[in-house]
Symmetry: C2
Subunit: 242 residues, 2 copies
């Protein structure tokens, strides 16, 4: 299994795709996706922009649904939910499809949607991702961070490192690029205080200014949700059943 | 002092410049620059391409000179030197100007050459760089890694982290971007085995294939050279005199 870490969707090679793409947007899209599916949502369907989300939701009749829209860290008018994973309680989401658009997370999903296998990872469901990759043994794995408007982000990189650390056998052959070691080192250095790290991160700082420390604390938990979101068609994620 | 780490010249904002730019190409351009100036070279002058280097060197009459050209890790025909820092002995370079072009390092210098202060850093002269920044206290500092053909590199990032760690007071106000924490963590994790880290790095692997482990070992040394290369005019670096 050859591992590649890309800090942002823009950093990925445009002429290739991996056997398995792992999309990461810890603050907060992929944490929300894991939480919603764990709470029994039928699926999470992502959209690159709000107009598309609203248009599509008006035609949707298969299941009850909720619209979750966030821009700049805040809930969008006309949506029932923002991007806070803590809103995704079983009472709220069970049996429903969540239509989701976020500032950065959906860009990363879009970039790799043609890969044979696409899953999403966050710190809360890290162990489920590790287990899936250990079982499936894809030849090439891309960890694609969402970043913030094209920039490197600590929270996505450390999550990539947390997963990669469990998969790396210590041999250079497994390292697809230098970023893998950078991500693993970041995790090794901060694994005892991910909450502290997220508060130093620029996007964590942004959430703190929006008085949202409680979301940061939620997203910084490790292995709390046994759920693996997997793409079933472009843009649609469902809980993986073995 | 606000710190920014950019993994590559391409990652820097195009509409800004810092008070002080620190250019890093540990394998091997900035290690070579530090070594040459420490060995008494009159200056190191960098060129974006070989043609420019050859043309300029033919007109140069002020001092004796040497041409150092490297592409893909190997010495270019018609040059007296490649990019190995170990060639820069006092016997070879003292009193001479070194005309240098390298695959990646000169791109980074070019990008920031209009900044008020431009210095170069490598692991071998890290402490001199730290001391200079602590004394001068520029408001904004960019650490610009060279990377390899536009990609993140471990050796440049860890060097940025080694310097930033000595300057960071632990406060989030000093963090210009998330990359700073990533770089510091990489250094903290690997500071006892930089040679091991460099051998895992993709560019280290490339040098190993060229049978050049001895250069990697040289470049992985910390604080061995008390010298600060500083730009005196665009593309020209001289040893800083207090």
């Amino acid at each position: 299994m050859k591992l590649f870490v890309y800090h942002t969707p823009e950093a990925t090679p445009t002429d290739q795709l991996p056997d398995c793409a792992v999309v990461i947007d810890v603050l907060r899209a992929t944490t929300t996706i894991a939480t919603a599916l764990h709470a029994g949502a039928e699926a999470v369907q992502t959209f690159a922009d709000l107009d598309e989300l609203f248009q599509f939701s008006e035609t949707w009749q298969q299941t009850p649904f909720l619209r979750a829209g966030e821009r700049g860290g805040q809930q969008v008018e006309g949506c029932e939910l923002g991007n806070s994973p803590r809103s995704c309680t079983p009472e709220m989401v069970a049996g429903k499809r969540l239509f989701l658009t976020t500032t950065n997370g959906t860009r990363a999903l879009k970039r790799v949607e043609q890969a044979p296998t696409v899953i999403t990872a966050a710190q809360v469901n890290r162990q489920s991702v590790v287990k899936f990759l250990q079982t499936e043994q894809p030849d090439t794995v891309w960890f694609v961070g969402s970043g913030w408007q094209g920039d490197y982000s600590l929270e996505d990189t450390v999550c990539a490192g947390a997963i990669a650390k469990s998969l790396w056998n210590g041999d250079s052959d497994q390292l697809g690029n230098d970023e893998v070691i950078g991500a693993i080192s970041l995790y090794q250095q901060w694994q005892q205080d991910l909450f502290g790290l997220f508060k130093l991160a620029s996007h964590g700082q942004r959430l703190l200014r929006l008085d949202n420390e409680i979301d940061i604390r939620y997203c910084a938990q490790s292995d709390t949700l046994a759920v693996l979101p997997i793409q079933t068609e472009p843009g649609v994620l469902k809980a993986y059943r073995h």
